[in-house]
Subunit: 136 residues, 2 copies
DNA sequence: CTCTATGCAAAAACTTTGCAGGGAT
DNA sequence: ATCCCTGCAAAGTTTTTGCATAGAG
């Protein structure tokens, strides 16, 4: 617990952001959930910070996005989810429950681009049915 | 012109949607622009349908999305863009100007999934700098 | 001590809904 | 003639902004 707090606190400071209990809590929620949308974060954090404002959650999401501490995952037909930035990976999105899962990055991804285009990064998203939903 | 109108009109009918001048115009705008957001479509269509409502644009986007005639492209940090549904392809998004370009689908994309997960479709998005912006 | 973050309220931006009239099949 | 579509207005949702106070460095 305490270690995690210090870890996130340092993560924020290393990125020139002030470490506040609210921000640390948001990172903790993201770590535990993996991928969460604004509402989930807000509802979770209210358990510890009863009077926190939704505006603060939005502001911190934007601040941490700009700093590159977290990343946004835009999902077709669903609300955006956020995750703590980590080693490059791909995403699997369950069409049934909407859950997002991290998956291995495909190897030797070969992309053909027209001349003059300069790629910086590629992301792969797989849609399908997750393990949980496949049971039903 | 006339042929295009009939083409879109038939496309709508084939998908059990009524063919209206507004819908056909929206498809024409999407064809010409390639990828457009709600505002772009609305501003363009107003040139021909002065009194068209933004609500109609939204309703038609949703209707045509459900019918599978058009598709939504969710771009990180940018507004969604729409395109006419066509053969499977990938997208290149310019980080500088926000423009979306169609690119070839990567060949032999090999994705490793945990057991129990059932993929249905994979999409690849490449971020970078487009030809136009590379000039500046 | 200084400067940024927070909480609250209000505003802005975005999207959907309900309804009456008009148009497509 | 029937049923869907359109335009308008209103409501709903989501996100941002301004400001006074609190808190971090």
């Amino acid at each position: 617990m305490e270690q995690k707090y210090i870890e996130y606190s340092n993560l924020l400071k290393q990125n020139d952001l002030k470490s506040t209990p609210q921000r640390v809590a948001m990172l903790g929620i993201l770590e535990r959930k993996g991928h969460a949308d604004v509402d989930y974060i807000y509802n979770e954090i209210k358990k510890d910070f009863v009077s926190i404002s939704l505006a603060t959650v939005y502001k911190n999401i934007n601040t941490m996005l700009e700093a590159g501490i977290i990343q946004e995952i835009k999902v077709p037909q669903k609300k955006s989810k956020f995750e703590i930035a980590k080693a490059k990976h791909s995403h699997f999105v369950c069409e049934s429950c909407g859950e997002v899962y991290d998956i291995e990055e495909p190897r030797n991804l070969q992309i053909r681009l027209p001349e003059g285009f300069h790629p910086k990064e590629a992301s792969v998203m797989v849609m399908g049915v997750c393990k949980e939903c496949a049971r039903s």
